[in-house]
């Protein structure tokens, strides 16, 4: 019971970290960004490369991975996303999917298609109410909560965050105040990409790192973003943990159905509350 709960919170935390970038991109630029999965996968791959080569330990290597995806996300933003701005959603979906195809093939080229397993970086387990829980999972939950608090502060206290939130609401009004909105959206995009890479880093020890790890997670994250209300930052947080719980509870009864249940919930949400987007 408690382990199911903890697993749900872990998955929810990771989903939140990855989804926030998608939610921001959709809210600010009305773009469904499939390339997000590429950044996520890349983060995990840089981690598994940096870990044995540099010998800095898991968390420092993870930090390197998060920073290393910044140039990649800048290239994607500058040459693909920005050109699609204000265009039909269909072309954005196809173009970012093309970026994902190119990137995944490049990853296969560089690292090969064989999954790379990674051991639990913390190793100790914590006993709560007589049940042993892996410490690493608790750290993930902690990190996701910290990120939530950090983003809340960022979006409500700093000028950059406030401009992004205002841009989510009404882009034209912000632009008419003489603020170059696109620049701030680029900041939001890079922030989201870094968080996606962090999600990849944190999830890597739980599953094996493979080139296609992004696809499956991306679908679930889309479900999170749609269930949470497109472009809503707090909604994404709630939806991520709710769907994380759905996955872990379903997984407890019938393992293979865990991912599918998320889409059933998505379908139900869309039946009750269709979104015009």
């Amino acid at each position: 019971m408690i382990s199911t709960l903890a697993y749900g919170l872990t998955v929810g935390g990771i989903l939140y970290i990855i989804s926030i970038g998608l939610s921001l991109t959709f809210g600010t630029m009305r773009i469904v960004n499939f390339a997000h999965a590429l950044v996520y996968t890349l983060g995990a791959y840089i981690l598994v490369t940096a870990l044995p080569k540099l010998g800095l330990g898991f968390f420092l290597s993870g930090l390197i991975a998060v920073i290393a995806v910044i140039p990649v996300s800048y290239l994607i933003e500058r040459y693909v996303i920005r050109r699609l701005y204000g265009q039909s959603v269909d072309y954005a979906i196809i173009a970012t999917y093309a970026v994902l195809l190119i990137g995944v093939d490049a990853i296969k080229w560089i690292w090969g298609a064989i999954p790379i397993p990674l051991s639990d970086p913390v190793g100790i387990s914590v006993s709560i109410l007589g049940i042993d829980l892996p410490g690493y999972r608790l750290i993930i939950i902690l990190i996701s909560l910290l990120i939530f608090v950090g983003l809340e502060v960022f979006f409500s206290r700093t000028v950059v965050g406030k401009i992004i939130v205002a841009g989510l609401e009404d882009k034209e009004a912000v632009a008419s105040l003489g603020i170059s909105v696109d620049k701030y959206f680029a900041v939001a995009f890079t922030l989201g990409s870094c968080l996606a890479a962090l999600g990849g880093v944190l999830y890597a020890p739980i599953t094996a790192v493979n080139p296609y790890m992004g696809f499956q997670v991306l679908l679930i994250c889309f479900a999170v973003v749609v269930v949470g209300g497109l472009g809503s930052i707090r909604g994404t947080f709630l939806a991520a943990f709710a769907l994380g719980m759905v996955m872990s509870v379903t997984g407890r009864f019938w393992g293979p159905a865990a991912d599918t249940m998320v889409f059933v919930v998505l379908g139900l949400v869309l039946i009750l509350k269709p979104i015009e987007a």
């Binding site: 269909d90 190119i102 749609v226």
Partner: protein, 337 residues
């Protein structure tokens, strides 16, 4: 246009007139010519894929709804065909009807949820349902579908029609393709087709004219799902086995790619796209190892530079040949819009 038959311009016009009048025969002839160049097996595969692209294009090209999970409808047709062959009767025609019926039934069930959405939501909800379908075929119903191993099918010989012979399958697939083209061309040039294009441009205005857009979208969606299911069934008729790769959501991009490369919103564009995509995916891996990367680059080029696809390019070229002045003015009006 009744120009006197003098000079090269009128010759072009006469050729175009001929092509327009006998286009179905020309398409059939082109496929027959293509067959010796590639193998008959591949030609069948190409034609069936073209049916799928046509079904997809009704939603994407005409109604303006990008589905990112159309493999679901193909896969349902494929499994319905294989399962009815296994459990109901060995009659392939009955199984084809059942496959089409199950595609239509799925469209009827999922349609009310799906067609209400537009844009990104439409793409993603199709993808979500495709994922559910993939899971059902792979895990939940693996007792009947064979899961990852798939299942092989066998069909009885009906009268003189024996689908274990490739020539029969070839003729049948060609006939089906021609019929589907004929049907879709009639459908899209009717009032219904014009209204669909109206929905693509501005749904509110079509509603304002007094049309029930929900019913229109439902019909288009169901036609697309049942034709996709039909294409899925034909694939199984050709391959004689069904695996989960026929319902794999990751393969949904193939049909989008085909539709884009040929040019969305045209029957001929869908045919060109279907054949070109199949040629690329069949032959390119022999020469380039990283062909997925190549595919991605082409997709980016299509999105950024050639949105109208091959057929759109040909049409623009023809227009310029026929009346150079008209193209100029159209360009201007497009810019002002």
């Amino acid at each position: 246009m009744s120009l006197p038959l003098t000079g090269s311009k009128s010759l072009i016009n006469a050729t175009l007139e001929f092509l327009r009048k006998f286009d179905l025969l020309v398409i059939a002839a082109l496929f027959l010519l293509l067959t010796p160049l590639i193998s008959a097996d591949r030609a069948i595969d190409f034609m069936i894929f073209c049916i799928f692209v046509l079904a997809y294009d009704l939603l994407y090209g005409y109604m303006g709804r990008l589905s990112f999970g159309h493999m679901l409808y193909l896969g349902v047709g494929a499994y319905a065909f294989a399962l009815s062959g296994e459990y109901i009767s060995g009659n392939p025609f009955l199984a084809l009807l059942i496959a089409m019926g199950s595609g239509a039934a799925l469209g009827l069930i999922l349609g009310p949820i799906i067609v209400r959405t537009t844009g990104a939501c439409f793409a993603l909800i199709n993808l979500a349902f495709n994922q559910v379908g993939f899971f059902l075929a792979l895990v939940a119903f693996s007792r009947w579908t064979g899961g990852e191993d798939g299942m092989s099918t066998y069909f009885k010989k009906i009268w003189i029609i024996d689908f274990s012979k490739k020539t029969t399958v070839f003729c049948f697939a060609l006939l089906c393709l021609i019929l589907v083209i004929f049907f879709l061309r009639r459908l899209t040039s009717s009032l219904f087709g014009i209204l669909l294009r109206g929905i693509k441009e501005n749904e509110t205005r079509v509603k304002f004219l007094g049309y029930n857009t929900f019913a229109l979208k439902m019909v288009a969606f169901m036609v697309s799902t049942s034709l996709s299911a039909f294409a899925g069934a034909l694939f199984i008729l050709n391959y004689n086995y069904v695996t989960t790769s026929f319902i794999d959501p990751l393969r949904s991009v193939e049909v989008i790619f085909a539709s884009l490369i040929g040019g969305a919103g045209s029957v001929y564009g869908a045919l060109i796209g279907g054949v070109s995509y199949k040629l690329i995916s069949n032959y390119l891996p022999n020469y380039i190892q990283r062909w997925e990367m190549f595919l991605g680059v082409i997709l980016l080029l299509l999105v950024f530079k050639f949105r109208t696809g091959v057929w759109g390019y040909i049409m623009a070229l023809l227009k310029r040949l026929e009346q150079p002045a008209a193209v100029e003015s159209e360009h201007r009006s497009e810019i002002s819009r």
